[in-house]
Symmetry: C2
Subunit: 388 residues, 2 copies
Amino acid sequence: MAFSERVSRLKSSLIREILAAAQRPEVMSFAGGLPAEAMLPKVEWADMPVSMGQYGMSEGEPALREALAVQARALGIHCEANQVLVVSGSQQTLDLAAKLYIDKGTEILLEAPTYLAALQIFQLFGADCITVPLQADGPDLAQLRTRLQKHRPAFIYLIPTFQNPSAVRYSEAKRDAVAALLDEFGVTLIEDEPYRELTFDGGSATPIVSRLKKSSWIYTGTVSKTLLPGLRVGYLIASPDLFPHLLRLKQSADLHTNRIGQWQALQWIGTEQYQRHLSELRDFYRVRRDAFQVALETHFSDLAHWNVPQGGLFFWLTLKQPLDTRTLLNAALANDVAFMPGEPFFPEPENHPGHIRLNFSHIDPTRLDEGLKRLAAVVRQAQAAEAA
Amino acid sequence: MAFSERVSRLKSSLIREILAAAQRPEVMSFAGGLPAEAMLPKVEWADMPVSMGQYGMSEGEPALREALAVQARALGIHCEANQVLVVSGSQQTLDLAAKLYIDKGTEILLEAPTYLAALQIFQLFGADCITVPLQADGPDLAQLRTRLQKHRPAFIYLIPTFQNPSAVRYSEAKRDAVAALLDEFGVTLIEDEPYRELTFDGGSATPIVSRLKKSSWIYTGTVSKTLLPGLRVGYLIASPDLFPHLLRLKQSADLHTNRIGQWQALQWIGTEQYQRHLSELRDFYRVRRDAFQVALETHFSDLAHWNVPQGGLFFWLTLKQPLDTRTLLNAALANDVAFMPGEPFFPEPENHPGHIRLNFSHIDPTRLDEGLKRLAAVVRQAQAAEAA
């Protein structure tokens, strides 16, 4: 059996295994990134034209591209509808970007930590992953400059607004500084913003791509966190030099994104109804975030430190006494608790022990306290065993 | 700007350009492979559960996988539901297969001609495309054996039932012989069957994968030709040794296929309603095929020869006086006629001049005769010019 060379890098997905284990109804899961079931809006299909059943354009539905361009321009992104490519969830943007840029050994620049599924697909294509550490307000700028001086990355991949997993939101100053550095070194930016609308304090610094003067860029978003993930409708917006290549790669990947999901997304984007839904969503998640913070303080204040997330879906804990948190998984699952170890969010997991990602949006509030109590007990037990 | 090495093989898609030109309403298009708009069934959405809006499993909806396995077993394919992977249109199967098998220079074996979009993605990943010529009842077996003796292809890709573009359907004897050869040489089979249900004479030889005794295999199908292409719901079924790899590649490509389309597909597959729809579809396309054959005989009997397709969506013409049919495109479009030149369906287009692919399913019957008359005139003019 002769597979491609890249298949040797096709890892078993830890998160898949955890999520599979977390399917058991008795498990209290902090592991996934699922929107709360209660906040999935009721949608109408009765008015969808029959023609949405026919093949469509690889670019996406013209009206949806137009609506997405209007929305992006309101964020300060200089773009026209012909720079918008509708994709099958923003995960597909990462697949297209990997195809566009990555050969075996291609250097790329990532935040540490970074989005797990991005790391997986970039590594599958053979990327050599250089990282820049994240601070509370964005990347360490001195280290970013050093990396850019020393390396020639094909692109930098950033999630500047409520990052998964760290919940970090870049400050205005760091956004400006990052844009200036990328322009200075001529590095392409891929900016991933699934969580922008899930802000709890109303803060909304404009995207970094809108601050670039010279560099090429890809901006990607999705309706998965704010409307319905099951539609699998995301989008990318690219600088004109990149768009034609991405379009051809999209066509060869799956011809086009499903049109029924595109039609549904179009019923929402740019409407007052959507604004109302987003507002309800923010209120709902803010309440869950606050309750989670209270429960965390009760059970974890002696074990870990963390920043209170101002948006997104996750708390990112740093254990005061680091250990490889992957070793906690079996004990946690045995106690009917699931969580995401932090190590896999780094290209070199073994160098970054002691982080835990906890999703606060999905857990039943009545089970929150018990779940965190059990998880804290698992951590305590492991630390005691290590000390012994 | 440093793109990946593969981007140098990312060709502009001739078919995209033709289809774009064919958008003008005055153009009589034989170019695409669109199902007839009139035969898109009216579908109901009112009963879809809200939960279909949530994230789903990378494997696909359990009930749909079960229904697809039942359908496949009825065709003689030995499989369980856990070998079924729902994909975002069967084009995605080709993307996953390319990732699984193809490095730069990897030898693969294809029919000549073969499906254009398969060729594009296999070549994008760097495949070295070996071909075996098609005869009216399937591949030339002597040449297939020679290729298998001389090469070690990572897989063979076949479309044995109403192939796009040639409309060839393999005979029972050739299916058996191909299966035996693949087992003998231990070559993996990728069998693509989008057109199986569009049979006009009821003939239904079982898939080649069902005849294999040892080789690994991937079978792929879709609801795009029989239900609604806009759903973007296809599937693959794989031998157990390949499935886990394909599943991980699917996850990294787009997490999972849209669930609303999966739910809709499940409302049809295996039902009597679907059988009635398929029967109406066959009748409708058979009538179109017959009318097309009459018009072809009127205008092309002195220019080309062809076999009457017993299924699928295409006539495949071989000009008696070969010329590069790509050179006819501009003249045809100037006369408001669009068609697909045959050359791009071969890995070495310049070695295979003189074929034309004509779609018979989409053209308005009232414009059919005028369209073929104009196209014949374009061919005649070019041949006269060449002779002069």
